[in-house]
Amino acid sequence: MSLVWLKIAVLLYGIASLAVLPAVLYERPQWRYVALPAALLGLFFHSISLAQMLAAAHHLVPVEATEVQAVLALLLVMAFLLTAAVYRTLTMGVVLLPVATLLCLVPAFALGKSTLASPFLHSGWIWLHIALLLAAYAALILSLLASVLYLIQEKRLKSRSAKGPMGALPPLATTDAIVLKSLLFGLPCMTAGLLIGSLLAMQMYGASYFHDPKVLLSFVMWLAYVAMIAIRRSAGLRGRRAVFLSAFVFFVMLAVWSANQFSSVHQFAVER
């Protein structure tokens, strides 16, 4: 991975992370003119570094945890810019930008030392599998964040304290729309990602693949994801309960992520 470009991206994300604070917390909207260009420019350099990574490593797949982190960070910044463009709110950046900065920090200063274990994995399908699942994770993180913001704004409105820090939170309807749309975007990504992964693994490992803990947890996550959308749609779940449900799915997602350590089929990388 080209560390110079990624370091520049980290610096720009750091600037954007700081600039959204006065814009959102202290109602100084002029700071958006620093935050948005910095995030956009950071995304540009981030994309260059990823492209160089693929070219230099001669593989399409982010095999190391640090590389996966960098891709997830890219998706989170994209999610932030998308919500800023569509809903005219920078509030998501208060969390998404620092998270993206932190996710990029390790990859920017630690060169990956692994390579692909199997030439079979030099396939475009495996890249699609990972990209779709990371997009689903990013959507889930965004929906959880928006649910928390909904809860905060709801509490503030109920307690009649609409001023002070965080006074510029987006309206409830906006955060609600972000929650639902990010979930609706994430579901097909997760479904397609899991299906592609399953088909590839069936080819390579056969039925034993389904005994893998990461695979089992991934299907639990998918079920929770579907259940969350179904409950939201049927019962109009919002506020506190929606946050609990999103948080549950998020923790399942973290479990899926950490299950890599115990997975026999997801050990793609070997030390160089």
Partner: protein, 428 residues
């Protein structure tokens, strides 16, 4: 510039006095024309709103205008009727007052946005009748710039301070855009009608009206282009509404916690905003505990409005600093403009001298080619510019410092005034 401002406002005059001085929009042009025809007035402007009537005049060089006399004559009033309520500002104080008025720092509700539009309207009328020329044009443009800076650099106008606008602001915080939102009006209090009007202006599309008197419901529905619903069916229609404004005279609750719960259930958890303007209250306070229900009583709205007012006062301090800075800047600009006629005089005199010397040397320069003649012309111009640079800078500095004696001395030394004084000396 010699500026005078005379007027009354909500702090100096009761409404009985203000209404006698008020000039309707249709009569503003005639009144401004009359002001312009008053002896001593070179330029003039009248600002007449419900909270103030002010007369701004730029004095003629020859006469000093008596605006108090103009007021007495124009409104046919005795001096004793208005004199105790009048305030008068001159020069810098008048500039400062006008900047404060345009920036809404002198308004009854500090930070309200209408006053700037009213000042602009007065300016527009005064321009149309030819009452605004260079001086007032400069002053008013600076006043508009100052007001804009106050709006953009402070938060003075960012929060709502009236009950109706607070309600609209809260509705925005819940629903974002109010486009397509439904409003249910229960009862017909004056304040609730005002809130409903504000909501409609912000995009709320349909209004349902429920009233114990069906005729009144029909009448209000017609007024708002809405739909009257029977009061008995209120709970049936309530889930359709995103915003419910209540102001009935009922002694018990019109919406209890359980009813709010049922409404939210039928709305599948979609938020609902209860604006309860009734006293005694129409909505059980515990309804606010239901997920998705936001209940604001008249006291809650008043509390938000008061806290916004406190915030505005804090912002007003920052705004006052901007006004002071802009007044200083305006005065400096004005003073440096005072140097312009003197600078023009000096430059014209220098140019005449240059032309005269070239003419005198024409015979000796006759053998020069066209290129050489052009070089000599450029050389003399350059010499003149270099020679006059320092004196002109000095004149600008003297004007900025308000040192009229130094300015006049420099003007006389470097212009025809110098020649005249020399001639006078020779004659003596």
């Amino acid at each position: 510039m010699s500026l005078i401002l005379l007027g009354v406002n909500h702090t100096t005059a009761p409404v009985e006095v203000r209404e006698r001085l008020a000039i309707p929009a249709g009569g503003l042009a005639d009144a401004t024309r009359s002001l312009l025809q008053h002896p001593g007035v070179r330029e003039g402007l009248i600002l007449s709103t419900c909270n103030r009537v002010e007369f701004v005049a730029e004095e003629d060089d020859a006469n000093l205008p008596d605006l108090r006399k103009f007021l007495r004559e124009y409104f046919s009033l005795q001096a004793s009727a208005i004199e105790p309520h009048l305030y008068e500002f001159r020069e810098r104080d008048a500039v400062r007052h006008l900047f404060r008025v345009a920036s809404s720092l002198d308004s009854m509700v500090v930070g309200e946005p209408q006053i700037l539009g009213q000042v602009k309207e007065s300016y527009s009328v005064a321009r149309e009748v030819g009452a605004v020329s260079k001086s007032l044009e400069r002053l008013l443009q600076s006043a508009f710039t100052t007001a804009k800076k106050v709006r953009t650099e402070t938060e003075i106008g960012s929060s709502s301070v009236s009950i109706a606008s607070v309600a609209v602001d809260l509705a925005h915080r819940i629903f974002g855009s109010l486009q397509g939102r439904q409003v249910l009006l229960v009862g017909a209090g004056k304040m609730s009608l005002l809130a409903a009007r504000h909501l409609m202006q912000q995009g709320a599309t349909q209004i349902l009206v429920a009233n114990r008197t069906p005729e009144r419901a029909q009448q209000l529905a017609a007024e708002f282009h809405g739909l009257a619903v029977p009061f008995a069916d209120l709970q049936e229609h309530a889930p359709k509404a995103d915003i419910i404004i209540t102001s009935t005279g009922a002694l018990g609750y019109v919406f209890t916690r359980a009813q709010a719960q049922a409404i939210l259930h039928r709305r599948k958890g979609k938020p609902i905003f209860f604006i309860d303007i009734a006293v005694p209250r129409d909505v059980e306070p515990e309804a606010n505990e239901v997920d998705g229900a936001f209940v604001y009583s008249i006291d809650d709205l008043q509390q938000v409005a008061s806290s916004n007012m406190v915030q505005r006062s804090a912002e007003a301090d920052a705004a006052e600093k901007i006004v002071s800075r802009e007044v200083d800047r305006f005065q400096l600009r004005l003073q440096s403009l005072d140097a312009v006629p003197a600078i023009i005089e000096v430059r014209e005199y220098g140019e005449q001298m240059r032309q005269a010397e070239l003419e005198r040397a024409r015979g000796r320069l006759a053998s020069l080619s066209a290129e050489q003649a052009a070089a000599v012309d450029a050389l003399t111009k350059s010499l003149l510019n270099k020679f006059l640079h320092k004196p002109m800078q000095g004149m600008r500095d003297a004007a900025r410092a308000g040192d009229g004696v130094a300015l006049d001395t420099m003007r006389r030394v470097f212009s025809r005034g110098n020649e005249d004084s020399l001639r006078n000396d020779e004659e003596i």
